[in-house]
Every structure is written in C-alpha cells, then in structure tokens.
Symmetry: C2
Subunit: 156 residues, 2 copies
C-alpha cells in the first residue's frame, strides 16, 4: 500500500494553501511523509524559482520549510495521540513563527529534500526543526512554531 501524504488528509476547506494545498491548482502542492521519526518532503523547483541564476530564491525555501513543518506538526499530534490521520476532528496547523538560516546558495538543478524533526509538542503548539538539502548537502536550516487552528475557526 502506498503511503498517503499528510496533505491528502487535510479537509477540503483547509486544502487550498498555495504551498501545500492539494486543491490549489496554481500552488506548489508539496507532499510530506513519515520516514521513521522524521518527516520528508521532496520538491523539484521550477526554472523560474530562481534567485541569482542557477540558485533557488529564498522565499521558496521558506515556503517549503513552512508548509512541510505545519504538515509535520499535524502528523506528529495524530501520532502522539494514537489517532489515524483520517479520523475527526481533523488537525490543521498555522505558523506562529518561522526562522530560516540560509547556509549556502541552493542549486536549482536538483530536487530539494526537506527533513523535519519534532522538537516539542506542548498543548496546541508544536516546534519543528528542519533541514533543506540539495545534492545531499544541507543548504538551509529551519525552525517553525506551529499552532493548531482552533475548532471554532472557519475559513472566510
């Protein structure tokens, strides 16, 4: 059985995010999976995702780290509470803060691999650490504080 991506479990009304929404036809539609205790997302940048020619622009790197981390936060809470990802109520997280250290220019000619680890789950807040690599070399490090969307919160 093929593993479904975290984002494929998002309820439709919360699945339009430009970065990770599977229903946003203009967006990046990233997909995140468990790999042991880590989560992983592979994304092939498009030629126009450039900063300096030959390298990826920082906003894409921030977007991948951001959306992969909020997805990982949801997956981690499902796992920590022993729930399957298709059970209700659905868990969905927003970003409270995002930090990215750009360690070296990120080449655009390679799939990018974002790997995340759950640093802490505390109430409705999850802290997620990550790396973004190209050609097996870490190019950026991220830390995201993700907060669970209140159940009363509805899309506009």
């Amino acid at each position: 059985m093929t593993q479904k991506a975290f984002q494929e479990y998002y309820p439709d009304e919360f699945n339009y995010c430009y970065g990770c929404g599977q229903l946003n036809e203009h967006g990046l539609q990233i997909k995140s999976f468990w790999d042991g205790d880590e989560t992983v997302c592979i994304f092939q940048p498009r030629p126009y995702h450039t900063s300096i020619p030959g390298y990826v622009y920082g906003g894409l790197i921030a977007s991948l780290i951001d959306c992969h981390s909020t997805g990982s936060a949801a997956a981690a809470v499902y796992r920590a509470t022993g729930r399957a990802m298709d059970t209700k109520p659905a868990l969905r997280f927003l970003t409270a803060s995002l930090h990215v250290d750009y360690l070296r220019p990120t080449p655009i000619d390679s799939p990018l691999e974002v790997r995340a680890r759950i640093k802490e789950i505390k109430g409705r807040k999850v802290v997620v650490e990550s790396t973004l690599s190209a050609h097996g070399e870490v190019c950026a490090r991220g830390e995201v504080v993700a907060v669970q969307i209140p159940e009363r919160w509805k899309p506009k």
Copy 2:
C-alpha cells in the same frame, strides 16, 4: 520625477529573482522605495496566494519580507556611502537568515504594505527589521540578516 524602485537598479544578471527580479515574468516583481528613513513595498496578493481561504499564505509573507529587506539593505548601503543607486559596482544582497513572527491571519483582500528599517550596517552585513500590514494593521514582523554578494561571485 517619479522615484525608481530599488529593484530597477539591479544589474540584469541579478534581476531574475522570483520575488523581486524585474525580469522574471513568472515572479512577484516587487518594488521597494524610500519613505523617509524607512523603506516601503506595496504588494497586492493574488487570489491563489491563499492559506486558509480568505487569508494570505505564510510563504508569500516570508518572500515579501525577504526580498524587500535585501533590496532595502542595498539601498541603505548606497545611502550610507553617499552613492547614487546607478553607480558601479552595483550592490546586491543575499539572505543569511530570515525570521518572521506571524501575529494574526493576514487578509488577502487588501494590498499588503511591508515597511522596513535598517537596524545595523556592519561591514558587508545589514540587519533589516520590518512589519507587514493589511488594512493598516500589523499582521507580521520580520528580521532579515542580509549579506552583500562578493564581487567575484557570478551567476551560473
């Protein structure tokens, strides 16, 4: 005379960034200007730049803060050294680190205003603080550490 945007002074080979390159036809093509001691960038998000429907996705906010800050860093060094922005060698900055605090959901139905202040210029490094507002309300705060691209560095 109409003020030219910082990005309109970027050399062509450094003007393809998805966020701020004026020659990237797929990109955001943001434009940044001085407003007294602050710099300002106004950007109208497109309908598909959504997170939760009705609100802007965090990766766009990070991208606007990132690119506006690197542009502001260049403008600040031109100003601090008494140089006009059309003089050579051209100054162009990359992001060493990006931090964004998302204070509240950012509505998508309003132009977004990013305002930046130069916190510090130290050698080739410039620290830029910023806010991102919609409908006059601050929705996010940013801090970028920008580093001047070495002159020997050439696009691929």
